[in-house]
């Protein structure tokens, strides 16, 4: 065993040593004439020695000094060290190594290639990107070396593409074939462009290239469909959140609340206030968004309860008056917020775990915050259903909705249930505001843009049915996003509105119509 180890070391040592020797042997070239400098830079760039990046960067920044005897010094701010070696040195008598444009160009290329080996992942990604775009044969060995050490999957994928593209640009036919199938296995539009570009130069490989392009196209198609679906579901989840509270107040109670959008807006502002209030408490600051959920619920629910007890209660059975009254209240809330917080948008930052994008198979990109909101909206839906189905309050609420007088006779305090139900629906609106603050501008008229869509969702899904609200919101979201590429954002919206009007012709009570006695009201 030890003998084997020794043998291995013996085998490896010269390799290592040769690399080092080559590196050190090349260094004096950096202090030579411009032509020699450029050549040296090129060779250092392909050597793959990690120290090369430091010295080349110093050269490019003018921080590389040379003594009259030809030894090199690295200046880093005030500190000057010998290179290679790293011992502190005195800069007296040394002068910066000068370079010209030709050397500068060589440096750019070499540094770009060398950053393939950089310890910084973002830098490696950028380098892979750059190499992919340049597609030069001399990059192949370096790319192979970099690939062998790379551990981040996304960067690996990028490097493999770059390698394939480089091989396709300059290689034997076999290597080209392998490269084509590697490119064809990706789902990148750039790979597709590279293949199309190579088609002219490689008539013999035409069939392979065609097949690879077709494969990419198929995958891009799937990706586009998946992304549209996700965007649609994401819009649907926003609509669901905004409409869920309405489904309770309008759908279950039959009270139309035009100030619903303002409750959503209040929720978003509560998120902003929580963020500002917790900013200076390091232990709580990262949790301001989760903490804003109950806070927004309470704020909006309190406003809702006050509005129901103070105003709406007097207008039961007169829906049109309720509509006007709540519209007026909404107007006042909006103006109060505008005066209190200013008319401009307020910044609510997303916590780190909600930022960035997630890459799914086929290169489908999904923004984290929208994914969270989608999940969040479903959780809120489930909690709402649970509250209505499983709790004492939900039971009383259903009893009052179905038959107010009998419920009252059974000892249920109907007035209290009305107030709680309205507060509950308003609170859900507040929660919607927390979610919306992550993707929309927090401004006083945040709610206005959602109110009409939310009513459409409730009417389309069927008044009084939470399942209808879910299906209605998701359908409207997906239909909107599917139409958008063809018709544009505005026309898609107009089209959906017209479609709902026509749909109501066929099914005036919505998708999930209540059947039996409840429908007669």
């Amino acid at each position: 065993m030890p003998r084997l180890l020794v043998l291995l070391l013996l085998l490896l040592a010269p390799l290592q040593a040769r690399g080092q020797e080559a590196f050190e042997a090349l260094l004096p070239g950096l202090a030579g004439g411009f032509a020699q400098q450029a050549q040296t830079v090129e060779r250092l760039g392909t050597l793959g020695d990690p120290r090369a990046a430091a010295v080349l960067r110093a050269l490019s920044d003018g921080r590389l000094l040379k003594r009259p005897d030809g030894t090199l010094l690295l200046r880093d701010g005030e500190r000057v060290t010998e290179f290679p070696g790293g011992a502190a040195a005195d800069a007296a008598g040394a002068e910066p190594v000068r370079i010209n444009n030709r050397v500068r160009a060589a440096l750019r290329g070499a540094l770009g290639r060398l950053s393939l080996l950089s310890p910084d992942a973002a830098e490696r990604m950028a380098a892979a990107e750059a190499v992919f775009r340049s597609r030069a044969a001399e990059n192949i060995p370096l790319l192979e070396a970099a690939l062998a050490r790379e551990s981040v999957a996304a960067i690996r994928a990028r490097m493999e593409l770059a390698l394939a593209a480089s091989r396709l640009a300059a290689g034997q036919d076999d290597a080209k074939r392998a490269a084509i199938s590697a490119l064809g296995a990706s789902s990148s539009t750039e790979a597709r462009a590279v293949l199309l570009e190579a088609r002219a130069g490689n008539p013999a490989l035409g069939a392979e290239i065609e097949a690879a392009v077709a494969a990419i196209d198929r995958r891009l198609e799937i990706r586009r469909a998946a992304e549209t679906l996700f965007q649609g579901l994401s819009l649907g989840s926003v609509l669901l959140l905004a409409a869920l509270g309405l489904a309770v107040t309008f759908g279950v109670m039959g009270v139309i609340n035009m100030a619903h959008g303002e409750f959503v807006m209040l929720g978003a502002y509560t998120t902003f206030v929580m963020q500002e209030a917790l900013r200076d408490i390091p232990a709580l600051a990262p949790w301001s968004l989760p903490l804003a959920v109950p806070a927004a619920f309470l704020v909006a629910a309190a406003c809702g309860a006050a509005m129901e007890r103070g105003l709406i209660r007097h207008l039961y059975g007169r829906p049109l008056e309720t509509l006007l009254l709540t519209f007026g209240v909404g107007m006042m809330i909006q103006q109060a917020v505008r005066l209190g917080f200013g008319a401009q948008n307020r910044e609510v930052t997303s916590p780190p775990w909600m930022q960035g994008t997630l890459e799914l198979p086929f290169g489908v990109m999904v923004t984290q915050n929208r994914l969270w909101i989608l999940v969040f909206s479903l959780v809120v839906l489930l909690l709402t259903v649970a509250a209505i189905r499983l709790t004492r309050f939900g039971l009383e609420m259903r009893a009052v909705t179905q038959n107010r007088r009998i419920a009252s006779a059974m000892g249920i305090r109907t007035g209290r249930v009305d107030a709680l139900t309205f507060a509950f629906g308003s609170g859900i609106a507040g929660i919607a505001g927390v979610a919306l603050s992550q993707i929309d501008n927090v401004s006083p008229n945040l709610g206005t843009s959602y109110i009409i869509d939310s009513f459409m969702v409730v009417v389309f899904g069927g008044v009084g049915s939470l399942a209808g609200t879910l299906v209605g919101a998701m359908t409207l979201g997906v239909v909107n996003k599917v139409l958008e590429p063809y018709a544009g954002v505005v026309l898609a919206k107009v089209f959906v509105l017209v479609a709902i009007m026509l749909f109501i012709q066929r099914r005036p009570r919505g998708l999930f119509a209540l059947k039996g006695r409840a429908a007669e009201q």
């Binding site: 049109l320 006007l324 009254l325 007026g328 107007m331 103006q335 107009v494 009007m501």
Partner: protein, 367 residues
């Protein structure tokens, strides 16, 4: 019913009421005349008063049309601003065509915004708008046709109450989004402006202002007379019956759909007329007129004045707008609180509006 009509006290009150109305109309009619008096005369009325009153008269016609739909047919339209804006756009198209080669780009036919957007010839729906009678026809027909389609679809499937309100709000919202688009051929978010003349009168002169003022006043009086005559016919009585108990009216054999549809279309045409008179007075029309907030504001005029009375609608339009004009210059931040407060106060405390305060009697239930 007939007994109350024959009541001498009632007929005296009616006479006094009519005299009051006539006096109010005469007072309004005197404004442009007083404007021509020298500026230091005690009775001189400023240009501002005349132009702002001219606007209010157009609002009053809009309120009247809304009262016909809401107060008599029970259709709370939250989209009447759309009919108003469509009438305004039809008039705006006529005014744009009259600019002719005097635009900034000097194109002989195309309005400036079309030259700017790279149009080479006039879109088909712009043809004919250079003729005043055709444009006036469109002022009535376009809102009327929209109301016919929306009303037919809605009333046929018995969409009533708040559903109908939200539907009409969605209608004006959708139109607003559509008119904001540049490729609609209506000038995008800038709309139409820089009008030069109407029927040979250069706009913006005192003469044109007075002429438009009188035209609006005549339109208001005529609309009022038509509406009040209509509501006193058998048709009007059936309409009120539908408002108060639609199913009962239907079971009695009345075609409620057709009755409501007629009222809605007529109302939309009146709103279009109001918009057409409004645009040359303010000199601009843009998609902002479609915003749902405008329609809701019109509803509050009617509610404040007292709905189902016609006079109340006109009174409401004048009083709320007077308040708005005063407040938006005196305390702009307060205006939205006051407007919102009006919604709350009127629905909770004054369900019959200002007219109710004066003890005007109204028969029938609240809709």
């Amino acid at each position: 019913m007939s007994a109350t009509l024959a009541d001498p006290a009632d007929s005296r009150a009616r006479l006094g009421f009519r005299a009051g109305l006539a006096g109010a109309v005469l007072l309004l009619a005197a404004l442009p005349a007083l404007n021509t008096l020298p500026a230091d005369h005690a009775l001189h009325v400023s240009d501002f008063i005349v132009s702002v009153t001219g606007k209010w008269i157009c609002y009053a016609i809009l309120a009247l049309s809304l009262d016909l739909a809401w107060g008599y047919a029970g259709i709370l339209s939250l989209g009447h601003g759309a009919f108003f804006a469509l009438g305004g756009y039809a008039m705006g198209m006529h005014l744009m065509r009259l600019i002719g080669p005097r635009g900034a780009y000097g194109h002989p036919v195309l309005p400036d915004f079309m030259v700017f957007l790279g149009y080479t010839d006039l879109p088909w729906f712009w043809r004919g708008f250079e003729h005043f009678p055709y444009a006036m026809l469109m002022v009535l027909l376009v809102p009327g046709a929209l109301a016919l389609v929306v009303g037919f679809l809605a009333f046929r499937s018995r969409i009533t109450g708040v559903y109908l309100s939200i539907l009409t709000q969605a209608m004006t919202y959708a139109l607003m989004l559509a008119f904001f688009r540049n490729d609609m051929g209506f000038g995008g978010n800038n709309g139409f402006t820089d009008f030069k003349e109407l029927l040979g009168m250069p706009l913006g002169t005192p003469g044109a202002r007075a002429a438009l003022f009188y035209a609006s006043l005549i339109a208001l009086v005529a609309s009022f007379l038509v509406c009040s005559a209509l509501t006193r016919t058998k048709y009007g009585r059936v309409l009120t019956a539908i408002r108060d108990a639609e199913s009962r009216a239907r079971f009695l054999g009345y075609d409620t759909t057709r009755h409501k549809l007629f009222a809605f279309v007529l109302s939309a045409m009146l709103a279009g007329l109001a918009g057409a008179l409004y645009v040359p007075q303010v000199g601009i029309i843009n998609p902002g007129e479609f915003s749902p907030g405008n329609s809701i504001e019109a509803v509050i005029w009617v509610a404040v004045g007292g709905r189902g009375t016609l006079v109340g609608a006109v009174l409401g339009a004048f009083s709320v707008n007077a308040l708005k004009t005063w407040l938006t210059s005196a305390a702009p931040d307060l205006w939205l609180f006051v407007l919102g407060g009006l919604f709350v106060a009127v629905t909770l405390l004054l369900p019959r509006g200002l007219i109710g305060l004066f003890g005007g009697r109204r028969k029938g239930r609240d809709a």
